[in-house]
């Protein structure tokens, strides 16, 4: 039983790790794209959530060569479904989205999006309340285990876990406030101007 629990945990972690590198960094681009179609913030939240649900149900992901293109494809379908359900359908909008073919080739925007800006991540961590900041910093930047952090900070492992929880909530909220989306928007402008 213990073995199968850790197996399940590992499997979940592998998927999350794949999403961390292949899916999540493209979320700002996806949101920017939804915004271009004048999808409201609330609707965009739900579409993105539904997309993550679909991805979380994947049994395997080795066959997906381009996670970013896969992510865009799922979001596009969810968006179409949502628009069609509306009572008043803007025909030209549906046609435009339907004819949208995700350009599979890496673009400057995509390459920028492929990685989270580490300096910005450090900034977010630095903004956390002190104890929480210390625990998250040791865990993420130094790569220490929660157990070692507990010894170092001279608190219980449960207390470290609590600080990590607070940290995750705060960082998540920061991510959702969308500074990365604004950055993606300004990157996109820069790219457009250059070309």
């Amino acid at each position: 039983m213990q073995g199968s629990a850790s197996q399940a945990n590992t499997k979940r972690r592998l998927l999350a790790q794949w999403m961390a590198t292949g899916i999540l960094p493209h979320e700002p681009q996806v949101r920017l794209w939804l915004r271009r179609y004048r999808i409201s913030r609330e609707d965009a939240d739900e579409i993105v959530q539904d997309a993550y649900c679909a991805i979380a149900r994947l049994d395997s992901f080795d066959h997906i060569d381009r996670p970013d293109a896969y992510f865009f494809a799922i979001v596009r379908n969810l968006m179409l479904r949502r628009i069609r359900r509306r009572r008043v359908v803007q025909i030209d909008m549906v046609a435009e989205i339907e004819s949208y073919v995700d350009d599979d080739r890496p673009s400057p925007e995509r390459e920028v999006a492929a990685k989270l800006d580490w300096a910005r991540v450090l900034g977010l961590i630095a903004d956390l309340p002190e104890r929480c900041r210390q625990a998250v910093h040791l865990r993420k930047v130094e790569g220490w285990s929660q157990r070692r952090i507990a010894e170092h900070m001279n608190i219980t492992e449960a207390a470290v876990e609590k600080q990590i929880w607070l940290g995750i909530k705060a960082l998540r909220a920061a991510w959702d406030r969308g500074p990365f989306v604004e950055e993606a928007a300004s990157d996109a402008k820069r790219v457009e101007r250059r070309s």
């Binding site: 945990n9 961390a20 939240d45 649900c53 080739r105 929660q146 995750i168 960082l171």
Partner: protein, 311 residues
């Protein structure tokens, strides 16, 4: 945001923190499963939160120090190591031979791939390259077709393209190689390259930005100092375009036919020498044919799906 959604987010964050600790057990797993099964949205929320948490890890591969977490983490790193094998090997300077990793494009397809040394290969229609990463060089074999290489500036590594008997060697430059029937054409857009045929490396020819050369399989090298604009034009395919500037219709038709299943056929060979100007999308066969029809006042028959007849 509703209270319920906030609650899901907070609980997802709690589970991610719990999984991040060192003592995940059967009881945790059972509780998590029952939480997940109660609402389909929860699985997505958990995955997203966990992905975000893992995305915040320091980006460098080897963190040293205290990474002796539980076994699952090691396994995770093992898989990651495989995923990033190419990049890691070249970073660490480890000898790594990726036996013929090849990239192939279909008719009309253009593909950009980033190679392990950071160089970028843009592969034109109906082409195939095979990439070997060797100790001190990237060895690219162009089996057929054409590719444009933007070579990363790496003084310690050479970048070599072989096509038939022709070899091109570069470092930190950009150039294209196209394999033709009896030889290969090399165009340099940035920096310089050396090229030779067979084992005659002592007779190699230097090409600088703006040069183009045709190297025949029997060792003849025809070098041309081309103007940059003509090279840009020859490489317009990188943007999905065919650019004509006083080029004969024969040439234009051959170019379109490189990219499309629907072939252009010239019924009246006498008009093949007519010169044309224009910028076309390379998949717009019919649009090009109609333009030619208007400009040269000839008939265009586009009723068949596999062929467009001109003349």
């Amino acid at each position: 945001m509703t209270g319920n959604a906030q609650n899901i987010e907070d609980t997802a964050a709690y589970w991610v923190a719990r999984m991040d600790a060192d003592d995940w057990g059967a009881e945790d797993e059972a509780q998590l499963q029952s939480w997940l099964n109660a609402d389909p949205r929860r699985r997505g929320e958990l995955a997203r939160t966990q992905a975000l948490w893992l995305a915040l890890d320091r980006p460098d591969a080897d963190r040293g120090g205290d990474r002796e977490d539980a076994a699952p983490v090691y396994r995770r790193r093992g898989v990651l190591a495989i995923l990033c094998a190419t990049a890691a090997a070249s970073l660490a300077g480890v000898w790594y031979f990726d036996s013929a990793r090849s990239y192939e494009t279909e008719l009309g397809e253009i593909r950009r791939v980033t190679l392990s040394d950071g160089s970028v290969a843009t592969i034109n229609t109906a082409s195939r390259i095979a990439v070997h990463v060797e100790k001190k060089k990237e060895l690219i074999r162009l089996d057929h077709g054409e590719a444009w290489f933007q070579v990363a500036k790496r003084p310690d590594r050479a970048f070599v393209v072989e096509t038939g008997a022709v070899t091109v060697r570069a470092s930190g430059t950009a150039f294209s190689v196209r394999r033709l029937d009896r030889g290969s054409e090399v165009m340099v857009t940035e920096g310089s390259v050396e090229t030779w045929c067979g084992s005659t490396i002592d007779q190699r020819v230097f090409l600088r930005a703006g040069d183009r050369a045709f190297i025949s399989e029997d060792g003849m090298i025809r070098k041309q100092r081309a103007i940059a604009a003509s090279i840009d034009r020859s490489l317009a395919w990188r943007a999905g375009k065919i650019v004509l500037l006083g080029d004969p219709l024969d040439y234009a038709i051959a170019e379109f036919n490189r990219y499309n299943h629907r072939k252009l056929v010239l019924l009246d060979p006498r008009i093949g020498v007519e010169q044309l100007d224009g910028v076309f999308r390379f998949d717009d066969v019919e649009g090009f044919a109609r333009t030619v029809g208007q400009v040269l006042s000839v008939k265009v028959d586009a009723t068949k799906s596999d062929v467009v007849r001109i003349g």
